[in-house]
């Protein structure tokens, strides 16, 4: 009898917990469902569809697919000229080269602007201007600046004005000079964003730390090394993650400046995806490049999380 009562009590308790959970879900549903539905329509479904296309031969007009397994991936990796390898290399190089500069200059400019008493907004706007300028416009400006002949501003300055070099350099037609131009454009365009994030981070650094260190005789450089930089570790991690993940999305500057030339040596994953899909009509391979990009971003994020191990959300 006692055992039966106990069983009934447990059952009642379980029912009560279930009801409470359902009530909780019913309360949360109106808030969560719209976002969930949008995520399903605009993120989840396209992602799954892309994976399906990457494993198929996709006929765009008929909107039909023929299952080909991993054929698109093997074709990409056995492609002549190893374009996918070059693109992956260039994406990593872009991340490795541009990120430190963006971090460094963003931090330096943020500290400089933060220390200003006047014209703060003016300088903040000036440094942020490249971020909001259209990639296409900037791409065209850079294409003009690095024009191969004397009509290019850089060649004109280096050869005709300063006389540093004897001959004009076809900047965008050589692998490494063209990659350098792509990197410079990326750095110039992103410094403003990192500066704004650092400026926000700097507002969270207690002023009394600087006052106390000042009393103890610390100079500006010491304060920067011992207070500012450590206090901005979390901000740095945030900028770092964004910049590295963003490096896998590089596209417009390559399209505008080099078209992946010469011989695909300045190509990047997103440009290759575009080229395969829209120029060569290899939609399956294009989708496969999308999947490869996602895998690389995932691996990079995991590695970064391991390297910059966090404890309670703080970077160690």
């Amino acid at each position: 009898m006692v055992a039966m009562d106990a069983r009934a009590a447990v059952k009642r308790a379980r029912l009560s917990i279930r009801r409470k959970r359902l009530r909780g879900l019913a309360i949360a549903a109106p808030f969560v469902l719209p976002g969930f539905a949008l995520a399903c329509v605009f993120t989840l479904y396209p992602t799954l569809f892309n994976i399906r296309v990457s494993l198929s031969s996709y006929h765009i007009v008929q909107r039909s697919m023929t299952w080909v397994g991993l054929e698109n991936f093997t074709e990409l990796f056995t492609d002549r000229g190893g374009r996918i390898s070059l693109a992956i290399r260039n994406n990593f190089l872009y991340a490795i080269v541009t990120t430190p500069f963006i971090l460094l200059f963003g931090l330096v400019f943020a500290v400089m602007i933060n220390s200003l008493k006047r014209f703060r907004v003016f300088f903040r706007t000036c440094f942020y201007l490249p971020v909001i300028t259209s990639w296409v416009i900037v791409g065209n400006v850079f294409a003009y600046m690095f024009n191969p002949g004397g009509a290019g501003l850089v060649n004109y300055a280096l050869v005709d004005i300063l006389g540093i070099m004897e001959d004009y350099v076809p900047w965008l037609q050589r692998t490494w000079t063209a990659n350098a131009v792509i990197w410079i454009l990326g750095i110039w365009k992103n410094i403003g964003w990192s500066m704004i994030v650092y400026l926000a981070g700097l507002q969270g650094v207690p002023a009394d730390l600087y006052e106390a260190s000042g009393i103890e005789g610390a100079g500006r450089a010491r304060q920067f090394i011992s207070i500012t930089a450590p206090m901005l570790k979390n901000t740095t991690f945030y900028v770092l993650v964004n910049m590295i993940i963003g490096s896998f999305g590089v596209f417009v500057q390559v399209l505008m400046l080099t078209g992946g030339n010469p011989r695909g040596t300045t190509s990047v994953l997103q440009y290759l995806l575009y080229d395969k899909s829209f120029n060569l009509f290899e939609f399956g391979q294009g989708a496969a490049i999308g999947v490869i990009t996602a895998i690389l971003v995932l691996i990079t994020t995991i590695v970064m999380n391991r390297v910059f191990r966090t404890e309670g959300g703080r970077v160690e």
Binding site: I60, V61, Q62, R63, G81, G149, Y168, V169, P262, F281
Partner: protein
């Protein structure tokens, strides 16, 4: 009851009249996508479309000028199933759209045979894929020599040189290392005319095989002749040498370069037939075709519009703003024969060759550019590079 029947009958009769009336009133609208330039688009909108609508009262044309990457737009439209009825597309893309199944074989439409005979054969051939015609040439173009008369005088020529041999000899003797001939890059549009001029061949006539042609002794010699011109300081490749663009340099530095009819000629920079080499002049065909989309509901009306676009009146109206006609009868017209520019280009067209016609045209173009980059930028062996490229093109052509 009788009254009800009478009213119902009257209503049905009225409704049917209404339907007939609306069918007569609602014209069929054809959507036509194009990329005509600033000078040409108003001719389409303000002259040609009204002319077409006047002679075809039941038809209306919505001409939409597209900008940006037109190919990308068309691919996106094909994917979304929201295609125009007709479009003006680049000759190199026609077979690719045909392979995708996006455009219809026009030769199955009544009236095609007459149009086929009326247009120039070279441009028409760019519509052929898998034994069927998937479009009609709407306008054509080719490259001719753009000559700086003053520079030519300095080299000892009164006007354009007749042969390439004498031009090279004069440039080497009178202006050594000064680059008197220029080309922008290493792509097919830039380099094919030189390659063909010096005796090179890309494939067999049917575009089925590159091996045996691209890697033949004649092709190797052609590339070596270009190399010699380049190394001898006669011929410059802007993207390799970092020299000024031909459009800028022709006014001060270069004596000649090859370009389409869109170059703004002047009294001192004039068009001329490309000088012959080994007794023959060669050029490259460009231009656009008109195609009808598989997804169109108004294919017949679209074909009527295509036929009108190939009428003499439409072609001559467009010629006035610099669009070279694809119609045989226009080529012989006085407007063309008496015009100093058009007469050169139409004459050059007779020796103009088409690029490799294949749905894989973009890949083939990339392979060619890669090969030229290897040879001119990296100093790769000519024969080895051409043999490797020929094998790769064979693979693409077999797809």
């Amino acid at each position: 009851m009788k009254k009800v029947f009478t009213i119902a009958l009257a209503l049905i009769t009225l409704a049917s009249f209404r339907c007939n009336a609306s069918a007569e009133e609602t014209p069929v609208t054809i959507t036509f996508w194009h990329t005509y330039g600033d000078a040409e688009a108003p001719v389409i909108d303000e002259l040609i479309v009204p002319m077409f609508e006047a002679v075809n009262p039941g038809l209306k044309v919505e001409a939409v000028r597209q900008s940006g990457d037109f190919n990308q737009m068309l691919v996106a439209a094909l994917g979304a199933g929201v295609v125009p009825d007709a479009a003006r597309v680049d000759i190199t893309k026609t077979s690719a759209y045909a392979k995708l199944g996006g455009i219809v074989a026009m030769d199955e439409i009544e009236g095609f045979a007459a149009l086929k005979d009326a247009v120039l054969e070279g441009p028409l051939s760019t519509n052929l894929w898998n034994g069927r015609y998937y479009g009609l040439p709407l306008n054509t173009s080719c490259k001719a020599a753009v000559v700086n008369l003053e520079q030519m005088r300095a080299l000892g020529f009164n006007g354009a040189p007749a042969t390439m041999e004498e031009f090279i000899a004069a440039a080497m003797e009178k202006a050594p290392g000064e680059y008197k001939l220029s080309v922008s890059g290493l792509g097919d549009w830039d380099m094919y005319p030189y390659f063909w001029l010096f005796g090179g061949a890309l494939t067999d006539e049917g575009f089925t095989k590159a091996s045996g042609y691209l890697d033949s002794a004649a092709s190797v010699d052609a590339i070596k002749a270009i190399q010699q011109m380049h190394d001898g300081g006669v011929f410059t490749i802007r993207d390799v040498d970092g020299t000024p663009d031909a459009w800028d340099g022709i006014n001060s530095q270069y004596a000649m370069f090859f370009e389409g009819p869109w170059y703004p000629f002047s009294d001192s920079v004039v068009p001329a037939t490309i000088p012959s080499y080994n007794g023959r002049s060669v050029s490259i065909v460009g231009g656009e075709n008109i195609v009808i989309f598989s997804g169109s509901d108004e294919k017949e009306a679209a074909f009527t519009f295509a036929r009108f676009m190939l009428s003499e009146e439409a072609q001559l109206k467009l010629l006035e703003v610099g669009v070279l006609p694809a119609l045989k009868s226009c080529v012989e017209s006085e407007a063309v024969r008496n015009d100093p520019k058009w007469s050169v280009y139409m004459n050059q067209l007779s020796s103009a060759k088409s690029r490799i016609l294949t749905p894989q045209a973009s890949t083939v173009e990339q392979l060619w550019s890669d090969a030229m980059s290897m040879i001119f930028l990296e100093g790769a062996d000519v024969w080895e590079t051409l043999a490797m490229t020929a094998a790769e093109i064979d693979y693409e052509l077999a797809k």
